[in-house]
């Protein structure tokens, strides 16, 4: 930086000492010329410093904005970090847990679902080869809403999914066929 300033200073001096075509103006003393050149250099340096500062500030703002956008995207993908739930929608069908294990699916209807649940058997939701237990927003097992759409080949559930102790749980906000 010192060297650059020195070069600029010398360049300024050389320019200042160069031939002056305007004969009307009174000739400046060498000390005045040096002072002018030093002022020019100082002004140039100040402008350059301001430009650099503005550039750094803009770059910092861009980085901050980019980081904020990236954070928003990550938050959307991963879900609320405090709850561990991820929002989404799933299409599948209502099945008995044990059928999801054996692969032999019993045809279900509302009364059969109630019968199974009251006998201590679990009914859930199978989507893309993944079995989910379904809960409502209050955190209660939502077998009643599953019973309502049991037997439908294509059921859509909107809500949030979470892994609890390795089990896949959907907190449903809407269950429709």
């Amino acid at each position: 930086m010192k060297n650059i300033l020195l070069v600029l200073l010398l360049s300024g001096l050389l320019l200042a000492c160069g031939g002056n075509e305007d004969k009307d103006e009174p000739e400046k003393s060498l000390s005045e010329q040096v002072e002018d050149a030093a002022n020019d250099v100082a002004e140039g340096a100040e402008e350059a410093a301001n430009d650099v500062a503005e550039g750094v500030e803009e770059a910092a703002n861009d980085v901050a904005e980019g980081a904020e956008n990236a954070a928003d995207k990550v938050k959307e993908k991963v879900g609320d970090a405090t709850t561990g739930f991820t929002k989404g929608g799933w299409t599948g069908k209502v099945v008995k847990l044990t059928d999801a294990i054996t692969g032999n699916y019993e045809a279900l209807n509302a009364s059969r679902v109630k019968e199974l649940v009251m006998a201590g058997q679990y009914v859930g939701f199978l989507s893309d080869g993944q079995f989910y237990m379904v809960y409502n927003a209050a955190g209660n097992y939502d077998w009643k809403n599953l019973a309502r759409v049991a037997g439908q080949e294509s059921v859509n559930i909107q809500g949030k999914v979470k892994k609890v102790g390795g089990m896949s749980i959907i907190l449903a906000t809407d269950i429709a066929s």
Binding site: L97, G129, G139, M167
Partner: protein, 115 residues
């Protein structure tokens, strides 16, 4: 070519050994306790004794087995949820002997005994 063959042979042996290990683990007992799945979902970690387990069972609320933070559905030999034994053994640490398996993302134990 010879090296490739040896490498493949070693890989196959290692995979076989790993599978054997998984099978051994799957047949050992796991220790834990009966918990309410609802309680686990909302992270209240309710202590479930036999009386409470019976209430939950009667209300159709799922009971599962928690072993070191991992949850398992427990099935009996007939392939049904073994809710009655989960209720009977609720409120104490028990070791369930049986086979641990996973299917369609479901981890479950086919229980042969409770100790």
């Amino acid at each position: 070519m010879k090296k490739l063959f040896v490498a493949m042979l070693i890989s196959v042996s290692l995979v076989g050994l790993a599978l054997t290990q998984v099978d051994i683990n799957a047949q050992s007992g796991i220790t834990g306790k009966t918990v309410s799945l609802s309680s686990e979902v909302i992270s209240t970690n309710e202590n479930v004794d036999a009386k409470r387990a019976k209430e939950l069972y009667s209300a159709g609320q799922p009971l599962v087995f928690n072993s070191n933070g991992k949850l398992y559905y427990v099935l009996n030999a007939a392939g049904n949820i073994d809710a009655k034994n989960l209720v009977r053994n609720a409120g104490k640490q028990v070791t369930i002997e049986g086979n641990v398996k996973t299917s369609n993302g479901v981890s479950y134990i086919i229980a042969t005994s409770y100790k």
